[in-house]
Point group: C2
Chain length 396, copies 2
């Protein structure tokens, strides 16, 4: 048990008020108090601070439910801007985002298997370009990166694909750009994104976001806070073993991990291998041309081979999700990442497989859905890191 200081309580309450404000176009002080269960005095004090900082404004009069008509408040969404970065497998993306989660400017760079210092150079290039824009004030940078991250120190402990080990990314970027930087694992960033701006927006409590692309990972929010575990790696479901006997070797060194059978890479590999023995498929004859895009097209056109491969991947995902649900008993699961391009049939394969392997009643109570941020969950979630460091918004 940790001590809750007055300062922490104050920040917590400020976040609560600001989150409530962000969820509504306009809202009265009284309704904020009702929704947050804070006292009216506390709400008024916080609201006054926020107005003084230019973060919110009064926006006319609402309808009365008896007494005096209430003054409505709204967030000035363009009073501050954040930068979010998504360091995906094939492409690094950066965006300037306003306080409402609206993207104002983006820069995308292809990655082409670069790593180490070169990959870091691409991060600088994106940020240089974004910092050159005239959009102001920019109050912070959030980075969503694959791999294991120490969020409190901003160090990328290990990102295999990027060949980063103990890279002090936050310090490097803060030295270069002179604004606060937060670094987060990409799946955890996706969870922050969906919680703040997407499918988890109306949920106040627990949420799991599973990010399925080249790799697979999950972000877990407990009581509205990112749960990272003892080593920062909570949610690493990509390396949960789902094929205990005779599985394929994973890039992590073990065998039968979820990533070997349910990730974008696994789907591409499996389609290539099966296509070699099949003539009746819409997939390209040239194995090297069988990309995720090609499989998405074939799948949409009802190609049996693509269907078989994608639905099998979905079933393995469902098996892993049933472990997740059994262990955490969290009722709201959101799927993000490239694989959501396979849409409802893939989702249904996941749900059916979950039902088969989850304790009766639990699967029924659990809602699995596809996220609402259309590929921007990580960018937005990385930028939403600001909400864990509220003080960044002040005194600009």
């Amino acid at each position: 048990m940790k001590k809750a200081t007055q300062q922490q309580i104050k920040e917590h309450n400020r976040n609560l008020v600001l989150k409530t404000l962000l969820e509504h176009d306009t809202i009265s002080r009284a309704d904020i108090a009702r929704s947050t269960r804070l006292t009216r005095t506390t709400v008024s004090d916080i609201v006054n601070d926020l107005i003084e900082e230019g973060l919110i404004e009064e926006r006319g009069i609402g309808s009365s439910s008896g007494g005096k008509s209430p003054i409505l408040l709204g967030v000035m969404e363009d009073s501050r801007y954040l930068i979010g970065l998504d360091l995906a497998q094939n492409q690094f993306s950066g965006a300037i985002v306003n306080l409402g989660g609206e993207i104002r400017e983006t820069v995308n760079l292809p990655v082409n298997d670069v790593d180490g210092q070169t990959a870091l150079g691409l991060v600088y290039e994106i940020l240089d370009r974004l910092m050159d824009s005239e959009i102001r004030p920019l109050v912070g940078i959030g980075v969503g990166t694959p791999g294991l991250v120490n969020t409190s120190s901003g160090v990328v402990v290990n990102a295999v694909n990027l060949d980063w080990k103990d890279l002090p990314l936050a310090s490097l970027l803060e030295a270069r750009y002179r604004i606060p930087v937060r670094v987060l694992n990409d799946s955890q960033a996706a969870a922050m994104g969906e919680y703040t701006y997407g499918a988890g927006r109306d949920q106040d409590t627990n949420l799991i976001v599973v990010n399925a692309r080249h790799g697979i990972g999950a972000g877990v929010l407990i009581d509205g806070r990112l749960f990272q575990g003892d080593g920062g790696g909570a949610g690493e479901i990509g390396h949960v073993v789902v094929v205990p006997e005779g599985g394929i070797q994973c890039r992590c060194g073990n065998y039968g991990c979820l990533e070997t059978v349910a990730s974008a890479q696994a789907i591409v590999n499996r389609a290539r291998s099966l296509a070699a023995d099949t003539t009746e498929t819409l997939l390209p004859k040239d194995q090297r041309a069988i990309s995720l895009d090609a499989i998405v097209d074939a799948f949409s056109a009802g190609d049996p081979l693509a269907t078989q491969v994608v639905l099998a991947a979905g079933r393995y995902m469902g098996l892993a999700l049933s472990s997740l649900v059994g262990i955490l008993n969290i009722h709201n699961i959101v799927l993000t990442g490239e694989l959501t391009r396979f849409g409802v049939p893939w989702l249904e394969a996941i749900q059916a497989s979950m039902s088969r392997s989850t304790l009766f009643g639990l699967a029924e109570a659990t809602r699995v859905s596809i996220g609402e941020l259309h590929g921007n969950a990580i960018l937005l979630g990385a930028s939403a890191l600001i909400w864990t460091n509220y003080s960044m918004l002040f005194n600009q």
Copy 2:
């Protein structure tokens, strides 16, 4: 995010002080402040209240580290008593426990497959006998039961073995005994026990306790609080699928659940089935006589068949723990329950299997150990529920 009220903060801080006091035979106010990071004023106020309530006392003078020698404080462990109940498969147990987790009196009753109202009758019988004792004051009852429990309402939602459905156990017992009653799932109770009095005692943060007996379940403590998920069922690893293809049907209806291959029941079933085809074993010839006790004896004597069955069960347990560790990234796992009678060889089979199926670095960072409460984790944990309802201790 929920509002932290002044009252909650006060209770939280009181718990913190009391927990710190319970961890030490004697401790000074200054050391409590250091350990809890509360201010000296806050600690002094709380300590004064606790002395007034007769919960703690001053116990002489400690050695000085410079200034005035400090007054030492200690919990009056026999100033209050709690009752803990463990509703296990073959035996219901009840105990009167003091504030230091010392058991003062116990009542055990065999169960013999009774369920429904008859099982409830056994609960009454145990409590009637304990309430008849002269130990006073008894301030609360905590019950650890198998099945899904709604802890806040004290209702057993579903306990298959006991044939209890929506049983308002807390209300029934409160009406009969006129003291506060809390009801908790047995694995979650075991976690509370180890956290409060056992292997998790010195840990202040995250802890997983896996309770392996007739069934298998886990209790998860996050930041020192029991995490129950959205439906109260967090930690239900007994029904995580570890044999995805061709598994045995579980009592839950699904196939290949952890309980079908790693529980006490699974070990007994497997030993019976293999013993039928083996002459060279120390296990009884009569299959019905192959009980868990018999297998423990044979295992200790190095019997190959018992060894094979028990270690295979351990390997499956390790596989499930690797999912648990991958998802939660909690570094401290404690095993409790009957299966811990297989001791170090079983533990090592679990650890080896975990290493093989857990992301590199994570298994090494995770400590799996056998609990310290020797079968009393649930009794003690159920009684420790008092710590979540601290007000029970006052005004007796």
